[in-house]
């Protein structure tokens, strides 16, 4: 059994999706295009940062279900795949009502063009997450559809994710038993790293790891998991070998600085252990295989890792090429499917 926690579906053209929106927003997009904070240009990311062989005859990578079946679902025997479109990155950077209209259109399209057409597909709910009220409305629209299994955030947000501005979304997600999924990238209006705009794409791409660490630190230290004790968070595509060392750093810092955060009742690492999951792609590849096993142990991650491919992006992890290193079979089974099955409450 294989569950793939990170697959990107796309509309053949943005217009395909915008057609589902009201005339007001269609006209706005025709005249003024998608606006919002713009990122700098990084040269190697290429169009859609995708695999060269993932382009269908028409449309863009990820837009053709048949090709996705051929290259991913059928080829590797994927039993379930969780879809999340990168279009949410743009949607979340729009004015509130446009973001709401776009994410509604994305979710409608995801249901009718993807979930209804292949039983192996699940999806995350797109929301205009910088606006809690609008995001909660969109969550309510889909909470009854069991094929929507998480609420999607992007990694570069306006504020670190523990900020109270996001709490209404956490409240709704917790109430409906939906995990929060934080997928790397995003346009939050801040600079791309904690020290400003980098120069090269490899810095942008490696910087995703730091974005994810920021959110774990913030969620824990703001007391989100005290306030929402059933909330679960999945961090997608941001690595996982840093989790152990970050837990130690959190605990040691808290030992000295805990006066500032009396809203925490336990060492910070315990919240991470209980509430956070991590996807595998891009797979950690230390020089020696046993280093990976040791870091999984040190981070207490055996029950917290979820397999992912990131199809159709350039740094795709094939199921038969990763998870081959020295991990033992029981752990591989957990990573391939068991952890995801338990997280999502699937039979």
């Amino acid at each position: 059994l294989i569950i793939d926690f990170d697959v990107h579906q796309a509309p053949p053209t943005p217009k395909h999706l915008f057609g589902r929106m009201s005339p007001r927003w269609q006209r706005r997009l025709e005249q003024f295009e998608l606006r919002g904070p713009r990122e700098a240009h990084y040269s190697v990311s290429g169009r859609f940062s995708t695999r060269a062989d993932a382009w269908p005859e028409k449309g863009v990578p990820g837009s053709d279900l048949d090709l996705m079946r051929e290259q991913l679902l059928d080829r590797y025997g994927i039993n379930l795949a969780v879809l999340g479109t990168t279009l949410q990155i743009d949607a979340a950077a729009q004015p509130r009502d446009l973001g709401a209209a776009m994410t509604s259109a994305i979710n409608d399209w995801t249901r009718s063009e993807w979930l209804d057409k292949d039983d192996r597909l699940l999806a995350s709910i797109c929301t205009p997450f910088e606006y809690g009220d609008a995001a909660v409305k969109e969550i309510e629209r889909w909470a009854g559809d069991r094929r929507f299994v998480a609420v999607l955030f992007n990694g570069r947000t306006e504020r670190p994710l523990g900020n109270p501005k996001y709490w209404p979304i956490f409240e709704a997600a917790e109430r409906h038993g939906l995990p929060i999924e934080v997928h790397v990238a995003g346009i939050g209006g801040n600079l791309m790293t904690s020290v400003g705009l980098p120069t090269y794409y490899i810095e942008n791409h490696t910087g995703h790891l730091q974005d994810m660490q920021t959110h774990v630190v913030s969620l824990v230290l703001e007391g989100v998991f005290e306030r929402f004790p059933k909330l679960r968070v999945v961090l997608v595509e941001g690595g996982f070998s840093w989790v152990g060392p970050l837990k130690w750093r959190l605990d040691r810092s808290w030992q000295v600085l805990r006066d500032e955060v009396p809203h925490l009742s336990r060492p910070p690492s315990e919240y991470v252990s209980e509430h956070c999951w991590f996807t595998t792609q891009p797979m950690e590849e230390p020089p020696r295989a046993e280093q990976l096993t040791k870091l999984i142990e040190a981070g207490q991650l055996a029950d917290r890792l979820l397999f992912s491919t990131d199809y159709p992006h350039w740094d795709f992890d094939a199921p038969d090429a990763v998870l081959t290193s020295g991990l033992d079979e029981a752990l591989k089974t957990k990573i391939r499917s068991e952890n995801a099955r338990l997280l999502l409450g699937l039979q």
């Binding site: 791309m192 490899i202 959190l250 810092s253 600085l257 500032e260």
Partner: protein
């Protein structure tokens, strides 16, 4: 060879001078500028990095012993910029007791952090740096030849910063250039290269140190709410800088450039190495000057101080991390006096096998810092 118990402490702190103290060193027009209230000093910036009352900033003992010192912005003390020439005797006594009197102490590299990166006035920033460095040399380095200095520079103005480095190059009491970990653009960006060129030319290490007040949020997702988030998050700031430096080609351009990472932890380094090396395989065509795996440059040209240790509950995973650094010659001993951390530096060092322990205590620093390497050429 020196005795096996010799020790080089690569990160200790000096109190910051008040503006009044510095102005004694500066041209008259700056005194007018100060009297008129145009410039009121960088205390609020320094305090945002090291809040005077925070338990991490200093122990109660240090706070109590130094609170009566006029003319110094001692760590953990709010005082008026009254222009009284400083007398650092009480602080020096503590420094001697806690650092200089340690058995085998060969050298201690001292940092005087004054948040000059927060001064946007280019000429004021440059003159403040000059005054700070002269004050450090006279007031502190002169007290004990084992106490070594870090050159403060107006980092936002790299040409002026390089000039300040050049001005002090003949003074063997300074062994490194101090840059705050946070900057408004990553340090690999070409605009900063004049600083690296000057440091490399003069045999000075460039120290990236915890801190920096530069007007941009300290995370890629904006401002956090609590100091402890910034404190923990400084590790991510260091990661962004290391990533930038390794990819930029600055190590290829300046073969003598050496960088030390101070007070940012080190347990995050293996993850960063693995991820950079892996991505480099796929993306190296964009950065062809990076001829080797990025981690190879790191092991050769970068070092990290050990404090804060960020230790796990049991020692094995920590020793795994040390081993994953892939070099026995990477970590530098640091007490980080007078800052307070959960794990004492010596507690960590005691966990290490004997050979590694000797490296961390002094051998690595002695071979890494050109100015701590015994040689007759440099004199103070």
């Amino acid at each position: 060879m020196t005795a096996p118990d010799s020790l080089i402490d690569c990160d200790v702190h000096l109190p910051a001078p008040t503006p009044g103290t510095l102005l004694q060193e500066m041209a008259p027009h700056w005194r007018e500028y100060f009297k008129a209230g145009t410039f009121q000093g960088t205390a609020s910036l320094i305090n945002s990095i090291y809040p005077p009352g925070a338990p991490t900033t200093s122990s109660d003992e240090v706070r109590a012993a130094t609170s009566a010192q006029p003319g110094l912005r001692l760590v953990g003390m709010r005082d008026k910029a009254d222009g009284i020439r400083s007398s650092g005797d009480a602080y020096f006594a503590l420094l001697r007791e806690n650092v200089l009197d340690q058995p085998g102490l060969e050298a201690a590299v001292a940092n005087c952090y004054t948040a000059l990166e927060g001064v946007r006035h280019p000429y004021l920033a440059a003159d403040l740096a000059t005054a700070t460095n002269d004050w450090v040399a006279r007031e502190w380095l002169a007290r004990d030849p084992r106490l070594k200095g870090s050159i403060a520079v107006p980092v936002l103005f790299p040409e002026a910063a390089a000039k300040e480095v050049g001005r002090l190059a003949a003074d063997a009491g300074f062994v490194q250039v101090l840059l705050p970990a946070r900057s408004p653009e990553p340090y690999g960006t070409r605009r900063y290269w004049p600083i690296f060129a000057a440091a490399a030319e003069h045999g000075l290490v460039v120290a990236l140190h915890f801190g920096g007040v530069v007007g941009i949020p300290p995370t890629s997702s904006g401002w956090p709410s609590y100091y402890i988030e910034e404190f923990v998050g400084m590790a991510q700031v260091f990661q962004a800088q290391v990533m930038s430096l390794l990819i930029s080609g600055v190590f290829e351009e300046y073969p003598d450039l050496r960088i030390s990472l101070c007070e940012g932890g080190f347990t995050w380094l293996p993850t960063l190495m693995w991820h950079l090396d892996k991505r480099w395989k796929g993306l190296r065509r964009d950065v062809p000057w990076v001829r080797r795996e990025p981690s190879a440059y790191l092991r050769e040209r970068v070092r990290a101080t050990i404090q804060p240790v960020d230790a796990p509950p049991s020692p094995e995973p920590l020793l795994d991390i040390v081993s994953a650094l892939g070099s026995d010659d990477f970590l530098l001993y640091a007490s980080d006096f007078p800052h307070v951390h959960a794990t004492a530096a010596d507690e960590f060092v005691a966990l290490l096998p004997a050979n590694l322990r000797a490296n961390v205590r002094s051998r690595t620093a002695r071979s890494f810092y050109p100015r701590l390497t015994p040689q007759p050429a440099l004199s103070r």
